[in-house]
Chain length 286, copies 2
């Protein structure tokens, strides 16, 4: 709680808060200090979506940023250790309406040596109004209020930071190794407590799907996302219009082959706007 | 032609040939010199697929590479000028079975200053044999031999480096502005002349789809891919098994919004293996 205002900061805002470090030479990467968040802890290390949001935030906070994010790709090079990290954001190219960023997240290793734990490339752009169309149909789903919220989870903190109402492809009830023919999950989801949607929170929301291989095989398989992309089909006004409403999120695997599977998904506003398409490649250990 | 052997090098091999420059300090990026290829020229600058393949090749040629590519994301920061470029490949993290790479492609600008024209992140991995499954169905398509090859194109050199047989969503015959309801294209495609498939050529093949907005609107709209990802669902043996066969390639747009649209696609072997899934975000100028 802020003692002056009485306002309690949302856990997401605390998690993505970055402290600017002293700027280096002109053109050098801008460095920020952040911390992993116990609120968004996963079984081991942080929820991947929050790490991605923190990396995006280093671009959002950069004083030279041009426009809003249109594409984000983050690569999970190593499990983050609980504690502080340094995020470096560098604009490597600025065009008339687009800007290309490279982000690198570092932590000290066991020997105290700074090592890379996450890399990202981000493209920001100033959009102009143009013709538009959506070629995907929004999936049919029951009304949000007609569905129960998933119960809280004592072992996985980040899970409790979201209100999730799964209407398709829930987590298997029994780990009985029964293969299902598909790997699609659909859910309504928003931050819990509610928080107005922005680019950072939308990025994290794109990673809320539990591992497709768990659904496919009803087997608890250790996994780790290795690369994760978000294409934003929204501007600030589109996100503001969503407010604190639930989003409709859907994702599926396409191929599982020799230790890796991919996942493709979409996030829709309650009003039927396709806000983001998202893709990831996930390592699994059989 | 090699005067000793009488073997004519394939245009693709000439295009992705990189010359290693003197190594720097230990841990510094490895630098390679390459050239844009007139054989793969686009209307303006090079075919994006060949630029991506050249960037991947800087990782493939790196002496420290661990395993085969599993994921590639390239970002088109600027139009490449015809001529030489420098590709820097740096392994930023090596784990037990995976390795993370950052690639940066530079060219001198008009003032002779070295500037970034392309960035990429690549993940390579040593795969182990595991359970596997493909959740997508291979699209139905006429037999390769039952279809005519697209005629050659005098204005777009790279187009003639591929044998393409489109069975769905061909380039509009008339630019009459008639909107079609979908934006899917399906084709059989291979290198022309035939060349045994490898990771570099598969990467380039993932970018052979003409811009989805041209199909959707039957309007000649200037476009440029800004980010492009390939997830490889294949190892060296899977690619070798394809030999010089055509691949079945299919792609579609999902949303077109204020200057950008996305594209998702799949490349299948003739034998029905899903070799790669691919995604891109494309700028369009209305």
């Amino acid at each position: 709680m802020d003692l002056d205002t009485g306002i309690v900061q949302h856990a997401f805002d605390r998690a993505v808060a970055l402290e600017p470090l002293a700027p280096g030479a002109a053109g050098a990467p801008r460095r920020f200090r952040g911390h992993t968040s116990a609120d968004y802890a996963n079984m081991v290390g942080p929820f991947g979506g929050i790490t991605a949001a923190q990396a995006l935030q280093a671009v959002m906070l950069h004083p030279d940023r041009l426009g809003d994010p249109v594409a984000f790709t983050g690569n999970f090079a190593a499990a983050l250790a609980d504690g502080a990290f340094t995020a470096e954001a560098q604009s490597v190219r600025t065009n008339r309406s687009t800007q290309h960023w490279v982000v690198t997240v570092h932590q000290p290793d066991a020997a105290g040596q700074d090592v890379v734990v996450f890399t990202a490339t981000v493209i920001t752009a100033v959009r102009r109004e143009t013709w538009g169309a959506t070629d995907l149909a929004m999936p049919a789903a029951p009304a949000v209020d007609a569905m129960p919220r998933l119960p809280s989870n004592r072992r996985v903190a980040w899970f409790n930071r979201y209100d999730m109402r799964v209407f398709e492809g829930p987590l298997p009830r029994e780990w009985n190794g029964a293969e299902t023919p598909g790997s699609e999950t659909g859910l309504w989801v928003r931050d819990e407590p509610p928080r107005a949607l922005d680019f950072a929170s939308l990025t994290a929301l794109c990673d809320v799907f539990y591992p497709r291989i768990w659904l496919r095989r009803a087997t608890f398989t250790p996994i780790g996302t290795i690369t994760f992309s978000v294409y934003f089909h929204a501007d600030g006004a589109s996100l503001a219009a969503c407010g604190v409403d639930h989003l409709l999120a859907q994702a599926r695997g396409q191929r599982f082959f020799n230790g890796y599977f991919d996942q493709s998904g979409e996030l829709w506003s309650a009003g039927g706007q396709l806000l983001a398409t998202t893709h990831q490649l996930v390592y699994f250990k059989e």
